[in-house]
């Protein structure tokens, strides 16, 4: 639904990705080889932002990967780490969705959408959860 999204792979031929959404549900979709997790999420209208348009200037496409997939990937660059450092809910298996490109080897990867808000309260009050 965003401009410039790629044609979807024939069902059964793409690389499987499981997105764990913020409501707890899982959306299982198929990626093209070389497609970033950000582009994939946007192609399926999932709630992942890409404020800086994949230029390593923000942390809004932050995703938490499963351990196995995280370890299969190359280490993030310094530039990616610099942006991850700003992300809310940072974990040891956090990556920027715009930097993770899907391959056949990564098929089955699980990516969790982290908590949406980094609530900034001036007086330090804890955010209400609802």
């Amino acid at each position: 639904s965003r401009h410039g999204s790629q044609p979807r792979p024939e069902p059964g031929t793409g690389c499987k990705v499981n997105f764990i959404l913020r409501n707890g549900e899982t959306a299982t979709v198929e990626a093209n080889v070389g497609e970033s997790l950000l582009d994939l999420a946007r192609a399926h209208d999932l709630d992942v932002e890409g404020a800086c348009e994949a230029s390593l200037a923000c942390s809004t496409c932050h995703l938490v990967l499963d351990d196995e997939s995280y370890n299969k990937l190359e280490e993030p660059s310094d530039e990616e780490y610099d942006m991850l450092d700003l992300a809310f809910g940072l974990t040891d298996t956090s990556r920027l969705g715009c930097q993770v490109l899907m391959t056949k080897e990564l098929s089955g990867l699980t990516a969790k959408l982290p908590s949406a808000t980094r609530n900034m309260y001036v007086d330090g009050a804890k955010p209400k959860h609802h």
Binding site: D47, A51, E53, L56, A57, L90, M120, H130
Partner: protein, 563 residues
């Protein structure tokens, strides 16, 4: 589309389903998943119209299936039949990201966005450094929001006179907006700066706010009169150790050839051509672990050519030892970068920048011409546990010669007439974006996003998160029957904006009583299409000198493009 069919569809839709912005479709009438509603219906706020009388205890705990107050149910039904109308004051990320969310998730909503300048985008245009163009990519999202037929940009139109004495009168006051909207979102940011409160801070030439300097080099019309001379001194100081402080230092020390390729204004290029500034001290009260700047910006400073980096390494070592294992990865990486930078820096380069820790400004001194020549600094030591270190004055002082001083200790918001404003904290008090007054009562229909909501801190992504939270609050309130503006009105006081049909291309054809009012006064408003013409002019001017754009520096020049 036949309006009757549309209304019936809408009615049926909202009767049965409520689309929670962050979650699944929820059945409205059964309140099975009360989560999305519970906040607005059972929040222990003062407003009596919420269903506190019907199934909620004073702690705000919801019962399994709270019965809906019939008055609230009536409001919900009525709202299902009409579009949600929101006014936004301010066109920076705070306003745009909330508008983005509303237009995406609240069917048939309309947004009118007011901006005092002819050009939108707030600090994305006037704050983000010229050599950080990727950060400005967020404007793509803003353009998409503006392309919605239900979005109207109303530029060159100031809403709300500031409460500071002698403030120029705005074009519209908040009260002018009330009859025409269901909700007003305040997102006008922070346009003043905090003072140090030390001697000669405001009268010496050469002492200024970082905000003023940034506004000058980014083309903010109100700062173009700045009498800035970088030719009279080799040493500049920046007070504060956040990303804005590093922006100032970096712009002063980056080779001009590089800056000329950015959208740094022509006026600033001419000032830099005469600059003799070679050494910049970035000064903070506390220690390295308390710096507010982030890795990317530090990395850029460490990559400046022909520039030495100086810092008290022993202080870093002792503070790191104190912190021990308590450091989280981001802070650990930042400290590692500082350490590496200090170790690998080539000394005695033609230029330098220094991180000066444990120093508090005490007062400025000037020469006979009233120009800055030095600053007195109090020396501090640190007390307290790692992670909450406090600066304590030792009583010792030192003097530092300098001809330029930039105060980078934070921007400051100001109130406008007609809204509650917390002068102490410098924000509009709110609960998750819903405006509350000094007695903590909810002000119906009033919301806040951006720096005006949570203070002048954070990067665009954090502003976005806060803006989304406000949008969520607004949608919950509208769909849950919480009081908003104009609930009591039997008839809608103004013309209900006709929802745009697919055929409608020119949204200015839609009747908008405020636009009519402004036009009748002879006031010129600027549409988003008009802004695009101004932007194109800036692109064209920039192309002739190898820059992405050459910013127009006055309101007059901007409006002239539209003649």
């Amino acid at each position: 589309m036949n309006r009757l069919i549309l209304l019936r569809q809408l009615h049926r839709q909202t009767q049965r389903h409520f689309i929670c912005p962050n979650g699944p479709v929820v059945a409205l009438h059964r309140f099975k998943s009360v989560r999305a509603f519970s906040t607005s219906l059972v929040r222990p706020a003062a407003a009596p119209q919420t269903a506190t009388s019907s199934g909620v205890d004073t702690e705000g705990t919801t019962l399994k299936e709270p019965p809906v107050d019939p008055a609230v149910a009536a409001v919900i039904r009525e709202r299902a039949e009409k579009p949600f109308r929101m006014a936004v004051v301010g066109s920076g990320p705070g306003g745009f990201y909330t508008a983005h969310r509303i237009l995406k998730h609240l069917p048939h909503s309309t947004v009118d966005m007011f901006e005092a300048l002819p050009v939108p985008h707030g600090l994305v245009r006037f704050g983000v450094a010229p050599d950080h163009p990727e950060v400005k990519n967020v404007m793509t999202t803003f353009d998409e929001v503006a392309a919605s037929p239900n979005f109207t940009f109303i530029g060159n139109t100031r809403v709300g006179t500031y409460t500071t004495p002698d403030s120029p009168k705005a074009d519209l006051e908040i009260s002018d907006l009330y009859p025409h909207y269901d909700a007003i979102l305040l997102a006008y940011g922070a346009h003043e700066d905090r003072l140090l409160g030390v001697s000669r801070e405001q009268d010496l030439k050469g002492v200024m706010a970082a905000r003023t300097f940034v506004g000058f080099y980014n083309g903010l019309p109100s700062e173009q009169d700045l009498d800035l001379a970088l030719s009279q001194t080799e040493t500049a100081i920046v007070i504060g150790q956040g990303n804005v402080a590093l922006d100032v230092a970096r712009i002063l020390l980056t080779p001009l050839e590089e800056l000329k390729k950015t959208d740094l204004t022509d006026k600033m290029v001419k000032v830099l051509e005469k600059s003799r500034v070679k050494h910049v001290h970035v000064i903070g009260r506390r220690g390295p672990l308390e710096v507010a700047f982030t890795s990317k910006e530090l990395r850029e400073m460490l990559q400046l050519p022909d520039t030495s980096f100086y810092m008290d390494k022993s202080l870093l070592d002792s503070e790191m030892e104190l912190a021990g294992k308590s450091l989280e990865r981001p802070r650990k990486r930042l400290m590692g970068l500082l350490e590496k930078g200090a170790k690998e820096s080539k000394p005695d380069q033609p230029k330098s920048w220094t991180l000066k820790f444990l120093r508090s400004p005490l007062g400025f001194h000037g020469d006979d011409q009233g120009t800055l020549k030095s600053i007195d600094l109090g020396i501090n030591r640190l007390e307290g546990e790692a992670g909450s270190r406090r600066a304590v004055a030792t009583g010792d002082k030192e003097s530092l010669d300098c001809g330029l001083a930039f105060r980078s200790i934070g921007y400051k918001s100001v109130g406008i007439h007609g809204i509650p404003f917390d002068n102490r904290k410098g924000v509009v008090s709110n609960e998750e974006g819903k405006v509350i007054d000094a007695d903590k009562n909810i002000v119906p229909g009033m919301y806040v996003s951006g720096w005006l909501k949570h203070g002048p801190i954070g990067v665009i992504a954090s502003t976005m998160a806060g803006a989304y939270e406000t949008a969520h609050t607004i949608m919950n309130d509208w769909n849950g029957g919480a009081p908003m503006l104009n609930d009591q009105a039997k008839e809608i006081a103004s013309v209900t904006p006709t929802l745009a049909t697919p055929e409608e291309k020119d949204i200015s054809q839609r009747s908008n009583p405020l636009l009519d009012l402004l036009r009748a006064r002879g006031h010129k408003t600027v549409s988003y299409q008009d802004w695009k013409k101004i932007e194109q002019k800036e692109f064209d001017l920039g192309a002739t000198v190898g820059k992405p754009r050459e910013k127009l520096l006055t309101v007059e020049e901007m409006l002239k493009v539209l003649d």
